[in-house]
Amino acid sequence: MSQYSVRPGPEAFLPPAAASMGNVLPDPGQAHINGRIVPEEEAFAHGARVFLSAKVPTIFPGPLVLWAWNEKAKRKATAIKHLYDTMKECAPKGATPMLIPMPDYRPKYPKINPEVEINPNHPNLTIWHNKIDACIFVGVHCHQANLSLKIIRGGTNCYTMAMCAQAGHEDACLSFRDLTVEKIMHFAEWVKKLKGSVEFNSIAQYTNGART
């Protein structure tokens, strides 16, 4: 059993990949929170609490859902927009939910415009510029998502989550796997269900946990 707990940073000059520390991905029906394997439902509730406790909860949709390359992608995009609308509807006063796309993976020179996009090669710029304290990746190719998640963990204090269509991401603080339209909608239901029950700007309780 791994002892490595995946928490928001800033962690290190070059933090390790969680898989190399012994963390394993969840099996179908499971998710992970900080590297701990949990039933998926527990992660939905935890993720919704994180988002509702954050000042700038942000969705980062990637190319797999931004581009209408098949019918499933279109339906996922619609569901993500619904999740964003739900976050805006349920966010406590003072919170600023955001939806910032990761349209492609090319390194951008001299630098990206962090107002309008996030890039996997320097995702910290978008996190810092917008003071994002909780985020969720969805529709990002797994390799690029892992790169981004680890760089964010290394240099920022943002709580990272991932909704992965494949096997999940150890480098996120919380990760789902086998993403479907129904799971995105279910996450939105949890956000709605917990509206008003979470203390605003209390995300520190999730970020300052001691590493075990």
Partner: protein, 402 residues
């Protein structure tokens, strides 16, 4: 293509796309008498390979030519000949970038010539399968077995498995595609065997039915876009980060490398149930252990039998996967041993170094015996090495003719 929905349907040769678990563990097996090279052909016949690229000069294995026959028969979709080994591996990359299941074979100096491509394959997350029928790499050349080339592959970011027998080889060629193509792994895989000993000798191998084959590769599960159309016509290389000299550019590259190593670690979860663990062990409560991979394990088994006749009990650890490295498994299997012998078919003793770096009290590891350049390793040589190391006076096998 959704590889799950295609299960149960037939390919153009009438083979049924079969669930891999059923194919490997439940389907009937047919005992057959084949050389290792012929075993490669029979595995590829059942592997739904889209593209084989060959440089058919290698005398180490007939596999490249035999798979050419498969192409002629219609079991392999496309077959190309590279103008040299570097060209072969580059063409493999092109095919894999395009979403094809790609297979190739190599050995010895050809592997070395192509070396630049292997970290490129892993960095680009291309799940190409490459058979390495190990032979000598140095001048003067040898077509006989020598496992030094495996050492050069260990840090390329590829998965590396080392087969002992033709049966291992057959099973792992098929299983290797399934592990390498998992979306959380998605790395190239080198399936190695000791050339000549495995490739040119005949053995009974239990084959899966010829009318069953693997489901096709599904490139849409790749962790990277299978082909990048942002910059027409296509971009084969991922963007280099050296175009900007700052901390984050370099950190991105470092994170990229870490992700490749992480993917190797993730492959454990898929590899262990597939090949029955990263190691196999026998009698690990013995004070003396032989630990090795490939045909050195076979010779170790015979040495153990000879030593038992002399009243000496010796255990065995067969290392099947070199990447991922069975760190915890080897520590556990060797915890009781006072003397750990590592016979190898190379002069460098890389396996002994890996084991020394893995276990506590590494002075328990006694590297050797070593043979190289195509020498055989008679079990008596292992026996002699063990007895001499234990302080017993023994005559050397090399003096028998005098």
């Amino acid at each position: 293509m959704d590889s799950h929905s295609i299960i149960g349907t037939k390919n153009k040769k009438g083979q049924v796309f079969t669930d891999p678990h059923h194919l490997f563990f439940e389907a009937p097996r047919i005992p057959s008498f084949f050389t290792g090279s012929e075993v490669i052909k029979e595995a590829i016949r059942r592997a739904s390979v889209d593209l084989m690229v060959a440089y058919p000069i290698t005398p180490q294995s007939e596999a490249a030519a035999l798979i050419g026959e498969l192409y002629a028969e219609g079991y392999v979709t496309d077959y190309m000949r590279g103008e040299n080994e570097f060209g072969v591996m580059s063409e493999c990359a092109g095919g894999s970038f395009g979403g094809a299941r790609v297979f190739t074979t190599t050995a010895g100096p050809g592997t070395m010539r192509a070396m630049e491509n292997f970290p490129m394959w892993s960095g680009a997350r291309l799940p190409i399968e490459m058979i390495v029928t190990c032979r000598g790499i140095n001048s003067p050349l040898s077509i006989q077995p020598d496992t030094l080339e495996i050492y050069f592959l260990l840090e390329t970011g590829m998965l590396v498995w080392h087969a002992e027998t033709a049966q291992d080889f057959y099973d792992w060629i098929l299983m290797g595609f399934i592990v390498a193509e998992q979306p959380d792994v998605h790395l190239p895989i080198a399936i190695c065997c000791d050339g000549f000993f495995v490739t040119h000798t005949k053995d009974v191998v239990n084959l899966t039915p010829v009318d069953m084959c693997l489901p096709p590769y599904d490139p849409y599960r790749s962790p990277v876009p299978c082909m990048d159309m942002e910059c027409p016509p296509v971009r084969m290389m991922r963007d280099p980060f050296v175009m900007k000299s700052n901390y984050i550019s370099y950190a991105t590259h470092a994170s990229w490398q870490q992700e490749i190593r992480a993917a190797i670690e993730r492959s454990r979860k898929h590899t262990i149930p597939m090949i029955g663990g990263l190691i196999e062990s026998e009698n690990t409560d013995a004070e003396i252990l032989i630990v090795s991979s490939g045909t050195a394990v076979s010779q170790g088994r015979e040495a153990i039998r000879l030593l038992e006749d002399e009243g000496l009990r010796v255990g065995l650890v067969k290392v099947k996967s070199l990447r991922p490295w069975p760190y915890h498994e080897i520590r556990e299997a060797t915890k009781h041993a006072k003397h750990i012998f590592v016979p190898e078919f190379n002069v460098a003793g890389w396996m002994a170094r890996e084991i020394k770096a893995t276990i506590p009290d590494s002075d328990r590891v006694i590297a050797g015996p070593h043979v190289a350049g195509g020498m055989t390793m008679p079990p008596e040589v292992i026996v002699e090495h063990i007895q001499r190391s234990l302080g017993k006076s023994v005559a050397t096998l090399a003096g028998r003719g005098s």
